[in-house]
Symmetry: C2
Subunit: 143 residues, 2 copies
DNA sequence: GGCATTGTGCAGGTTTTTCTGCACATTGCG
DNA sequence: CGCAATGTGCAGAAAAACCTGCACAATGCC
């Protein structure tokens, strides 16, 4: 996988807004960036296969090829390997214990964990099948 | 903050084993690395202030100056900003819902979240004070 | 002493990431 | 037409990350 900081910023915008041409990405970029610098990122991303582009008139429209979910998982996996001895549980525990979540948030998370556990009970002895996709939210704003 | 991949590997070893000289770090390094390459990392880390060193005879012993916790938090914060709209809760939810945790792990996590919520109830209206340090485990092996 | 071992110093190299400049082509408008 | 605006292509520069080689100094052992 492996996206650099700059590449990731571009991908974020493509994930969020969909197909865009360089100038549009440039506008939405978190900090000021020259058009040529941005296009430089795009060509690297194209090379690496993370984006694709479509020609319309003289302009190119870029869109994400790599899914946000994949990129996220890849980063979480790295983090876990580096800091939590490879255990996802450890990461969650650390987050629960050391980060400043409110009482309400903790209770909700507790509930969600319990629900997921119940979910698991139903398909015992099937270690690879998963995901009910009940409340799939990520990518923006639900605080 | 900002540690590169290579620097982080060095820091991990220093966090785990404490003070060491270059040759010792080199031995423990996850992949093969030349002594000079490793020392190159160490001098960058020294420059950046993430490690300190102590001379004993002709040799230097290096140890971590930056705390593991700080580095971890910094990376989690980055991840959250990039993928979860700045919400820690979102990160935990995503982990709970999409990652392959066992039923037992989920139940335990649910319990821990509930406990932490209870903890919070006791010091209402104190948003900054925290941490009971009941089961402080991270950095290695509890799967 | 001679010589391998273990350590540092340091002056670099290569590759990747980040960013720049400029030439040039097309389009729209006065 | 002239010319600004908008787009691409491309050839890099600059900085950071990653890695190497070699000189040399101290130590221990024959």
């Amino acid at each position: 996988m492996k996206l650099t900081a700059g590449e990731l910023k571009v991908m974020q915008l493509l994930w969020q807004y969909g197909e865009m041409k360089p100038a549009e990405i440039q506008e939405k970029f978190p900090e000021a960036i020259k058009n040529s610098a941005l296009r430089s990122y795009l060509s690297i991303l194209l090379e690496k296969g993370h984006v694709k582009r479509r020609q319309v008139g003289k302009a190119y429209f870029y869109s994400a090829k790599t899914k946000e979910r994949r990129a996220f998982q890849s980063m979480v996996t790295d983090l876990i390997e580096m800091f939590c001895g490879g255990s996802k549980k450890s990461l969650v525990m650390t987050l629960l214990e050391h980060e400043d979540l409110t009482r309400e948030q903790l209770l909700e998370l507790s509930r969600i964990a319990a629900e997921n556990a119940a979910q698991h009970a139903k398909c015992e002895a099937k270690p690879a099948g998963k995901k009910s996709n009940r409340t799939n939210n990520r990518g923006a704003s639900h605080e």
